[in-house]
Symmetry: C2
Subunit: 233 residues, 2 copies
Amino acid sequence: MSTPGRGLHGHVLDSLGPAITAGDFPPGSVLRTDELAQRFDVSRSVMREAVRVLESMHLVESRRRVGVTVLPESEWNVYDPQVIRWRLAGADRPRQLRSLTVLRSAVEPVAAGLAAAHATPEQCATLTECALGMVANSRGQQLEQYLFHDVAFHRVILTASGNEMFARLGDVVAEVLAGRTHHDVMFPDPDPAAVTLHVQVAEAVREGDAGRAERLTREITVGALEELDILAP
Amino acid sequence: MSTPGRGLHGHVLDSLGPAITAGDFPPGSVLRTDELAQRFDVSRSVMREAVRVLESMHLVESRRRVGVTVLPESEWNVYDPQVIRWRLAGADRPRQLRSLTVLRSAVEPVAAGLAAAHATPEQCATLTECALGMVANSRGQQLEQYLFHDVAFHRVILTASGNEMFARLGDVVAEVLAGRTHHDVMFPDPDPAAVTLHVQVAEAVREGDAGRAERLTREITVGALEELDILAP
DNA sequence: TGCGACATATAAGTCTGACTTTTTCTGGGC
DNA sequence: GCCCAGAAAAAGTCAGACTTATATGTCGCA
């Protein structure tokens, strides 16, 4: 999905980031750069670079004479893809998935409506292909193939909306959908109603019917939320 | 609003960040750490820390034997508050405001609906106060006072939704609203209809009427979008 | 002429040690 | 009890030497 551990400082981040986001260090905990450098067996320069990155994510704050203070969750840059990945890998993954799914339920319908107005013919074609791919793999435990087309579908919607803020949520949606298929309980086959809705959204976008695209997508996301409620009530 | 230029590397970022996000270096441009260190008159260690931060924002990519490559806009972490601030300070500020306003139009109505279900009595009280504050300052060019209550209002809605992803957009909304009042053309007095809508949203949340809160908030954001269309068609 | 292996230059990456600066804490004097 | 000066602690900064990956160019061979 992304670039794990490039360089020594990256390796340090791969350890420290998940540890902090998992709550191993309660907010207000104080770490010392030198000690961390020793613990990870890297030089102080490398450790400082890692701390700077954590600081830019607002996971920690570095102050003179004090040290590196872990910030409360409310300060974190929870939209940073790296932070999202770390948190999804952690213990309260279910809560993350819920948060992100609620975000989806707000964004995707509006994005679909905009896509109906702005999608290029190519994007419409891709959308239809994705929907058909979902149909073709909706039965017979072909979850991986289904997931592939599902992710592609939602990426196209978000991109075709023409809004960059929406487009950049493609990775988030991909993580959420992948998480549902891989880590969490999943029904052996996808919900047939959801498959139909995707096909209909592709139709609505193709026809430029913004209102219908939005309504149908809202139904999809409502379904995703209900699925979460069933799995983790 | 935030923490400008803490430390030497922060000062470098305050210069480099806006320059990159403004497009001063076309995507693919290659910078060299040593040269940058000279240009900003800092040591390489400091420069390296700054580059690491830019790298974590996906504004640049650092590769051996090549240098620091500026990435295309499509790679940027556009949800990073710092990046948002840099871009809003730049030349294509209007486009940013539009992107962010569209995001608001997707998120805030859903947030208001959730707030109606989850808001504490304290939050309801604060919300009503904010709405009243808006009413009280809606006439007579008291834009600053009006803005203050407007920002507070939307922050409460986003927080009361109980969704952390929504809550973290409070700063973004604050930037957008402040931008509208300060930098851009603004009607001498706020739209009376918008003021009324805010009061009604506060009512709906207080009464726990999620549907109405969502609908009314959608009207507010539609109004904000239309306002943009009028100002920059 | 074309292609692959090898050599080389380059820029990032890393480490170390010394020094500076800010800020908290401590303790003494009033 | 309060305030100010000094000390201590940790981050911040710098300079220099060394390592490593890698893009590119060169040479020989087919």
